[in-house]
């Protein structure tokens, strides 16, 4: 192709050609670099012209009739599926020491409800009444106020987690309209490490959406125990809520213990750097920490599932990353270790249409259970590249962000 032909095309079309030729490093190139790189390649791809849709007429994302109908249908399908996990005809026989009966339906093929059973509620988020909805909140409140159940040692409170699940589904189905692909790559048994790209700038929506994706779409509604930085432990209000909904602190001991118990571990190894990416660097996956997650997975012989999340990095487009602001914050909160603060202009998140793709798992090696520092970094780099190319794929197919 000639330079003229190429320069007439849009970047999306160029990207499509670059993908066709399997051009290395295409994700970080801008348009002119792509043209230079593609001039010499002798491909005769005539990419079909893509007409942008959806932005032409004035439709408010999430409020369009087809969006509403789709959200309702997905929610109904979820409730239908979840109700199959409990047996509403039999009730849990548990009675507290003060004499309060439990009264919740039992989980199918067992003899106790989720709260008073064998503790599998810490892994499988089966709704206690079999339904998600405000209708099930009165019995949940009762158990919450009587404290009839035990929390797990990381602080997961199954009742509060279920309420949060129900509330966050509004974001999931109605606002972000999350589409999920490749959910079969998430194992339904035993531990696994879900590694995803991080974004958000202000609020880590991606952690919540990642767990909801597994709870809403997988065959078994398994919990993803997402780990967060120490800042979660320090912020008033957040410090206990994040634990109650099933997240944990990103200390190596915690992650190891979660994997040992066979939970799904959700990590965002890009960390604060990735979280505070300015909008012009969105969807360019940075270094995945020091690859500690690879070592943890190897130790526990758990697979690593790379996850590409589209949406999180645009909901709060960061227009500025400031060190001075961070210094100001440190002045008032000396115990916070913040280096940079990303500034987004919108107080409410943008209604981006999210897309989450679970990629084929990286299996742990069969015999050796030890990775040296180089192995860790190499594996982390492999995972990074997998996530990056999946992100590129999804982005090039996407017509509009909304």
């Amino acid at each position: 192709m000639t330079r003229e032909q190429l320069s007439e095309m849009t970047k999306v079309q160029l990207m499509a050609i670059a993908r066709e030729c399997d051009l290395a490093g295409r994700s970080t190139m801008n348009k002119s670099e792509l043209i230079v790189a593609l001039v010499d390649t002798a491909v005769d791809v005539a990419p079909e012209t893509v007409e942008p849709e959806g932005l032409g007429g004035i439709t408010i994302p999430g409020l369009a009739p087809e969006d509403r109908a789709e959200a309702r249908a997905r929610r109904d399908a979820l409730n239908e599926r979840l109700s199959g996990f409990v047996d509403t005809h039999t009730h849990c026989a548990w009675t507290s020491t003060e004499g309060h009966p439990c009264g919740l339906p039992v989980i199918s093929e067992t003899e106790a409800c989720g709260l008073h059973g064998d503790g599998s509620i810490a892994d499988r988020a089966i709704p206690l009444t079999g339904q998600l909805g405000f209708g099930s909140w009165p019995p949940l409140w009762r158990h919450l106020s009587l404290a009839t159940y035990d929390i797990d040692s990381f602080g997961l409170d199954p009742v509060i987690a279920e309420m949060a699940w129900h509330v966050l589904n509004m974001l999931y189905y109605d606002y972000f309209r999350v589409e999920v692909e490749g959910i079969e790559n998430v194992p339904m048994e035993g531990g696994a490490v879900l590694v995803a790209n991080h974004g958000g700038a202000a609020i880590p929506y991606d952690g919540a959406m990642l767990s909801l994706a597994v709870m809403n779409e997988a065959k078994l509604p398994r919990r993803v125990r997402v780990v967060g930085t120490e800042i979660f432990n320090m912020l008033p209000g957040v410090s206990h809520m994040y634990r109650k909904v099933g997240a944990a602190y990103a200390a190596r001991d915690d992650a190891r213990e979660l994997l040992k118990r066979g939970h799904l571990l959700g990590v965002f190894p890009e960390g604060e750097r990735g979280f505070m990416k300015p909008v012009w660097e969105a969807y360019r996956v940075g270094r995945l920490g020091r690859g500690g997650f690879a070592e943890l997975a190897e130790e526990a012989s758990a697979p690593i599932v790379p996850v590409a999340i589209i949406g999180s990095e645009e909901v709060h487009p960061a227009v500025m990353v400031s060190r001075k602001l961070a210094r100001l914050v440190r002045l008032f909160f000396p115990e916070q270790r913040v280096d940079e603060i990303a500034v987004a202009l919108n107080p409410i998140p943008l209604p981006i249409r999210w897309h989450i793709r679970f990629l084929p798992p990286v299996m742990p090696s069969a015999e050796s259970h030890h990775l040296d520092a180089l192995d860790q970094l190499e594996r982390a780099e492999d995972v990074r590249r997998t996530i990056q190319s999946a992100l590129d794929d999804i982005l090039s197919e996407r017509r509009t962000a909304f």
Partner: protein, 310 residues
């Protein structure tokens, strides 16, 4: 047998339990008058410096329960007192080393040794290295446990068992955490809801007794099954939480301390970040199983449960 710190609730009850056994002579010492009456040979002497050590050399015990190793409410302003107590412990371990009769030493430590830091892992086990700035109490405990480690290396034949107790709670015991939790309205730190673990008062005494009978060398976390958020504890106890922002909460705590309610400062960290320890060593290696779960402990402490176990 020798019990130090016998004036406290735990020590007194331990003495009473041991008295019930035949062919056992129990000596008890403390620097205060016993709160629980018992009939053993009690001597009131100061636990600091060399007094205690000299007494130990005199009576030549076989088993030593060291319960009052660290000043319980050590905090700023009481530095000398807690330091004296540490020196007393050091002297006691020295005396134990000099005697050949001592077979077992059981030391009561506290899970406060892990501190309460936002950087601590969620579940602490015996080998976890605590993060953050240590409180005075935490430093004293660490130092005391270091003495034990040193004594152990010199006398490998003597059994040294360190029991790190979670906050002891129950209907009768009076300690900082029970005084705090049984206030009519409980000041809490706004925006924080710590995870707490307890051990029932009777289980604490049983654990000490168990360590003397079947104990093995080592350090063990002693806590009841399960854990509870502070908000749930207060709900179970039908106490009204009074959330206060940071500064006012500090003020309330120092007010309580000054009003002689005995709520020391090192509780602040616990009431902000909480603390949960791993008890798998306790059940697997030591083989001890508390009778009360955490929830039952709280119910029993507030008198909402008919006790079935001793």
């Amino acid at each position: 047998m020798l019990i130090t710190g016998a004036a406290g609730w735990t020590g007194g009850n331990l003495a009473r339990r041991l008295e019930a056994r035949p062919d056992l002579k129990v000596y008890a010492v403390d620097d205060a008058k016993p709160r629980v009456p018992f009939s053993s040979d009690f001597r009131q002497l100061s636990l600091d410096r060399l007094t205690l050590a000299r007494y130990v050399l005199e009576i030549q015990p076989h088993v030593v329960f060291h319960l009052q190793s660290v000043h319980p409410t050590s905090e700023r302003g009481k530095n000398t007192e807690s330091e004296e107590r540490i020196i007393g412990s050091l002297a006691l371990f020295g005396a134990i080393e000099r005697l050949d009769t001592v077979e077992k030493v059981i030391v009561k430590s506290d899970t406060a040794i892990y501190g309460a830091s936002p950087r601590n892992p969620s579940v602490l086990n015996e080998t976890t290295r605590p993060q953050g700035t240590p409180s005075r109490f935490q430093r004293d405990l660490t130092e005391m446990e270091r003495f034990i480690g040193e004594a152990k290396t010199r006398h490998p034949d003597t059994q040294f068992t360190v029991l790190r107790f979670a906050p002891i709670f129950g209907p009768r015991i009076k300690n900082p955490i029970s005084r705090y939790l049984t206030l009519p309205t409980v000041p809490t730190l706004m925006g924080f809801d710590p995870r707490l673990q307890f051990i029932h008062e009777s289980d604490a005494v049983t654990a000490l007794e168990y360590a003397a009978d079947h104990g093995i060398d080592g350090t063990f976390n002693i806590a009841a099954r399960g854990q509870l958020y502070l908000s749930r504890v207060l709900r179970l106890g039908r106490r009204l939480p009074q959330p206060l922002p940071g500064r006012m909460f500090d003020g309330a705590l120092s007010g309580l301390a000054r009003a002689d309610m005995g709520v020391p400062r090192h509780l602040r960290g616990l009431l902000k970040h909480g603390r949960v320890v791993d008890t798998s060593e306790m059940t697997a290696t030591l083989g001890f199983e508390p009778a009360f779960s955490c929830r039952q402990t709280v119910l029993s402490a507030y008198g909402h449960m008919v006790e079935t176990s001793p």
